[in-house]
């Protein structure tokens, strides 16, 4: 039960976290994340890193699709731009990783703006299709530009920090988790600012927003740039994580994956991006575990894994859209409401 959350100033009303309890939970979460690599096995740390990278990218897509209402099926290709930028910088220039990540973000933001230009003429489905075209063109560039190493791609050395090579997930964890946390926090704060609110206005009704004095083109391109920046940094972390970047690493299905993640999580909520990306990354792993358990009884279970994964992926998208269009974030809110209202409403 929660009573007595009285807000006495605008600052408290606008705050991201409005109760002490939330701060306590947040502190516990941070603590848990810090202890996690020491208690969990390497596989789980590996998974945590993968989840964090996907959360960063999904949050970026959420800025564009969930908050600005511009549907993009190019997120994976933008991640590819970031990954290639990092790989090229790391192998050819050798700059430190935080500069590489920032440059990857900046480079991807520039590419994102270029491919966002059609958004001033088309929107909705047409824009989604224009971004499919963008990802096809980017894929072609990755595979044919000499700098990106053609179809063989690029291999790169691990990131170095103060002479330590970050070559294991356990070490990279300390790079990936803080960066992702910072990015998610940044996104959450973005929507308390003028820029972020302009995004929401454009999503809700772009013509009305323009009438109210929001420059449409500028706002949409800013959204594209920000979202691509997130994709670029996520792609950069992806490159450090896997250390091999090939054109096949970022297929269209990955873009669909990110869009599915924010749909399953809940579009237009920061929590949705986190929950959705986590859920969608873990579901295939859970399927893998289940297959591992039933293998003694069904020897050919492993061969069924790939198609079943495809089916579950599709069924999750369809099921959530039909039965829970607000996504996991809404389920989360429902659970929270239950505890808030507990003795009064059961």
């Amino acid at each position: 039960m929660r009573i007595g959350t009285i807000k006495l100033s605008y600052a408290t009303d606008e705050a991201l976290f409005d109760t002490r309890v939330q701060w306590v939970w947040l502190g516990l979460l941070a603590l848990g994340l810090m202890i996690f690599p020491f208690v969990a096995g390497p596989y789980w740390v590996y998974l945590a890193c993968l989840v964090a990278i996907n959360v960063a990218s999904a949050t970026g897509l959420n800025i564009l699709t969930g908050y600005t209402g511009l549907v993009s099926l190019g997120q994976a290709a933008f991640m590819g731009v970031g990954a290639y930028t990092v790989a090229v910088l790391e192998t050819r220039v050798g700059t430190p990783f935080f500069i590489n990540l920032l440059l990857a973000g900046g480079m991807t933001a520039a590419v994102g703006v270029v491919f966002g230009i059609p958004s001033l003429r088309v929107k909705g489905l047409y824009l989604a299709i224009a971004t499919i075209a963008a990802s096809m063109i980017l894929h072609f560039v990755f595979a044919h530009w000499p700098l990106t190493g053609g179809t063989r791609g690029l291999s790169m050395p691990p990131a170095g920090f103060l002479g330590i090579a970050l070559d294991q997930p356990q070490k990279l964890y300390w790079l990936i988790i803080p960066v992702t946390a910072l990015m998610v926090l940044g996104a959450a704060n973005l929507f308390r600012t003028r820029v972020g609110r302009a995004f929401i206005a454009v999503r809700d009704r772009d013509i009305s927003a323009e009438v109210l004095g929001i420059p449409l083109l500028q706002t949409k391109l800013t959204s594209f740039a920000l979202s691509s920046f997130y994709a670029g940094v996520a792609g950069g972390m992806w490159a450090y994580f896997f250390r091999v970047v090939t054109p096949e690493s970022f297929p269209l299905i990955n873009s669909i994956f990110y869009l599915a993640a924010i749909i399953v999580g809940g579009m237009g909520t920061i929590l949705g991006g986190i929950l959705g990306a986590t859920f969608m990354t873990l579901v295939p792993e859970i399927l893998k575990l289940v297959v591992g358990w039933i293998t003694p009884w069904m020897p050919d279970a492993l061969s069924l894994l790939a198609p079943i994964r495809t089916i579950v992926f599709g069924a999750l998208i369809v099921g959530f859209l039909i039965f829970e269009p607000q996504g996991l974030a809404e389920i989360w809110q429902r659970i929270r409401r239950f505890f808030h209202l507990w003795p009064f409403r059961t």
Partner: protein
């Protein structure tokens, strides 16, 4: 410049384009009636190819019995999908419905892989194999017959849309749902009808496409090219699907043989971006005017 080679490539492109046009017509039928962009059309086409394969190779039916059964299966799938997945999404944002069809495509691809495995298969030969020459130019017989069948089917679809009762109802619904409803047209049935007709067409197209190039679970990629076709032609225009289909087939064939196979998708998608910048609603599409 070798004119004969150019002619042969162009003819092959137009032949492939006819199949794009046929699938494009299926796409347009759904979009016209229900305003749903069906990205699963490539997977439905693939399923058509596989059902045909299953009926002939698995159940041992003759080819001429299997083709109508495949088309019937496509129609049944269309009705099923419309009633269970699309109807509940009525009134939701177009993007949500679009994503539902993406999810459907994923489900269908998974089912096909589960049932028939991931390896590419060849359909039994049923198209005559004697070489065909138009003047001096050689046309692959499968492509030529495929194009002829596609042309006949498209003609049938156009005639049905123009004169049959269902076709008129579909066009009326596309024009104005409210008015069509008050005139006694059962709009819900028109929705089902359009999905039925479109999926049947797609399944039929799948048989032809499979007969030409073989079938595999990744055949759904055909749907992406069809998407380009209908965007270029205009989402709600049958004529646009025809012109777009032939155009994209031609562009793909020319890019594929003069630049190299990897340029095919690049060429079509560059064309797509160009069209979106110049005429966002396609060559023949309706320009929708937005109101506040």
């Amino acid at each position: 410049m070798d004119w004969l080679y150019l002619t042969e490539v162009a003819l092959a492109g137009l032949g492939a384009g006819a199949l794009y046009a046929l699938t494009g017509v299926a796409f347009v039928l759904i979009y016209k009636a229900t305003r749903v962009v069906n990205l699963a059309i490539g997977e439905i086409l693939m399923l058509g190819g596989y059902v045909f394969f299953g009926l002939v190779a698995g159940a041992g039916l003759s080819i001429w019995a299997a083709i109508p059964l495949t088309i019937l299966a496509g129609a049944a799938l269309g009705v099923l999908v419309e009633r269970t997945l699309i109807r509940p999404m009525l009134g939701e944002s177009p993007i949500s419905v679009f994503m539902v069809t993406i999810g459907l495509g994923s489900i269908l691809a998974g089912i096909v892989e589960l049932a028939w495995g991931a390896d590419p298969l060849r359909l039994p030969e049923f198209i005559p194999n004697t070489p065909i020459f138009l003047g001096e130019a050689y046309v692959a017989p499968k492509v030529a017959y495929g194009a002829i069948i596609a042309a006949l089917l498209i003609a049938g679809a156009v005639v049905a849309l123009r004169f049959s009762r269902g076709g008129v109802a579909l066009r009326a619904t596309a024009r104005d749902q409210g008015a069509a409803y008050s005139m006694g047209i059962d709009v819900g049935r028109v929705f089902s009808l359009s999905w039925m007709a479109a999926c049947a067409t797609a399944a039929g197209a799948g048989v032809i496409v499979g007969a030409i190039g073989g079938i595999s679970p990744t055949m759904g990629i055909f749907g992406l090219s069809v998407l380009v076709v209908v965007i270029v032609g205009g989402l709600d225009s049958v004529a646009g699907a025809l012109v777009g289909g032939l155009l994209i087939g031609l562009v793909e064939a020319l890019a594929g043989s003069f630049l190299g196979g990897e340029y095919k998708l690049l060429a079509t998608f560059s064309l797509l971006i160009l069209i979106l910048m110049i005429r966002p609603y396609g060559i023949f599409g309706t320009h929708e005017i937005e109101r506040l």
